[in-house]
């Protein structure tokens, strides 16, 4: 996989991020990377350190991982996070929190199988919910107030539709359609209890938002369902690595979306009653 040119020194604690080219390689269809290389690129996208990537890519030796990182660096797919433009954001910005990605123990070993199952489920049923987080045990819904659903999508008509649906389901809905609105939405109190996240946003990629949520000190356990137009293995693998709880393909039937939400949030007694919710808009 690696040639002599790609053998460059990379420090164990270095954190890389994807360049624009790297992002396109990861997000767009038709990548020529091998599965092993793609796995490393996904982990870089989650802002894991070199040492974490070496530990997480269990089917690859540290030398292989470093060679791949060197190759990506030389090829302009990745760059040190501190040198990327996306890191020069105002202090306090949700997206400026650069912490190592918390990769669930054993997630990588399971990811290949889960990704295949996920693609099958997406194609057959229109949604896929990660079994490991089905009960949302890490982030129980609040008692005594309406749970806040954060819907991150820039399609206004679709937002209106989901607003109506989830209001009837008893959620307080907060919406965000771009990077600035996402920052505002996470800063509002009470914080979101559940996130529906579109993959393709105008000025930021949904997978980056997911990675930031999973790396955030207080938001890391939020249940997140991705809304995605592409049911590719790469997309599911990417989401699994970054900790998505489920995927729903767009366009979706309302009932399919609701099934996915119900599965992720667990038994109905832990969810709000109908019509308890009220809307709010961020940004």
């Amino acid at each position: 996989m690696a040639d002599e040119k790609s053998k460059v020194e990379v420090g164990a604690e270095e954190v890389y991020g994807l360049t624009g080219r790297g992002n396109r390689e990861l997000r767009e269809s038709g990548t020529r990377l091998s599965a092993a290389e793609l796995e490393v690129l996904v982990l870089v996208d989650g802002r894991a350190s070199v040492a974490q990537i070496e530990r997480s890519a269990k089917d690859q030796s540290p030398a292989q991982v470093r060679a791949t990182l060197g190759k990506f660096h030389l090829g302009g797919l990745i760059e040190l996070a501190s040198r990327l433009k996306s890191e020069s954001i105002d202090a306090g910005d949700f997206f400026s929190v650069t912490m190592p990605l918390r990769i669930p123990k054993g997630a990588t070993a399971q990811s290949g199988k889960e990704a295949s199952e996920g693609v099958s489920s997406l194609q057959e049923k229109g949604y896929y919910v990660r079994i490991a987080r089905r009960s949302a045990a890490g982030h129980p819904l609040p008692a005594g107030r309406k749970p806040v659903m954060l819907l991150i999508d820039d399609d206004e008509t679709l937002v209106k539709l989901l607003h109506t649906v989830f209001q009837l389901e008893g959620f307080s809905l907060r919406t965000a359609g771009n990077r600035a609105e996402i920052v505002t939405a996470f800063a509002e109190q009470p914080p979101p209890d559940f996130v529906l996240l579109d993959v393709m946003l105008p000025d930021i990629d949904g997978f980056e938002v997911l990675g930031r949520i999973r790396s955030h000190p207080t938001a890391s356990k939020l249940p997140v369902i991705m809304l995605t137009a592409k049911a590719t293995r790469e997309a599911v693998l990417n989401g699994l690595h970054l900790g998505a709880d489920g995927y729903v393909t767009k366009p979706f039937d309302i009932e399919v979306l609701m099934s996915a939400v119900r599965t992720v949030l667990g038994p109905s007694e832990s969810r709000p009653g109908p019509k308890d919710g009220g809307p709010s808009r961020s940004g």
Partner: protein, 111 residues
């Protein structure tokens, strides 16, 4: 009115709104394509065009317009290999894009 009735009424109203908004959205996409074909657009215009098709593909079926989703998806798929590069594209490619947008318009009008 039951929740189910209320939801059905709301969905119907939003479907009407969606259909009404579709024509101006297609106008904008066709104008972008024309500018690109005429050499006046840039990579950002191409991304906007592809993104517009992606958005329609991802929502029309939800509002009861599966043929519109299919037509928009065909346009998006056609643009996929172009990525951020507007040129070089020959007359045949621009003509094919024009045909796909016309098919999308027809699907929207017949819905």
């Amino acid at each position: 009115m039951s929740d189910a009735d209320e939801l059905a009424a709301a969905l119907a109203a939003l479907g009407v709104e969606y259909r009404a908004n579709l024509a101006p959205r297609l106008d904008a996409l066709e104008a972008l394509a024309a500018a690109l074909a005429g050499g006046q657009g840039d990579a950002e215009d191409l991304r906007t065009l592809r993104r517009g098709l992606h958005t329609i593909a991802g929502s029309a079926k939800t509002f009861g317009l599966p043929a519109v989703t299919d037509a928009a998806r065909a346009g998006e798929a056609f643009l996929d290999p172009w990525r951020d590069t507007v040129k070089p594209q020959g007359a045949a490619e621009w003509a094919e894009l024009d045909r796909l947008l016309a098919a999308l318009r027809a699907a929207a009008q017949s819905a």
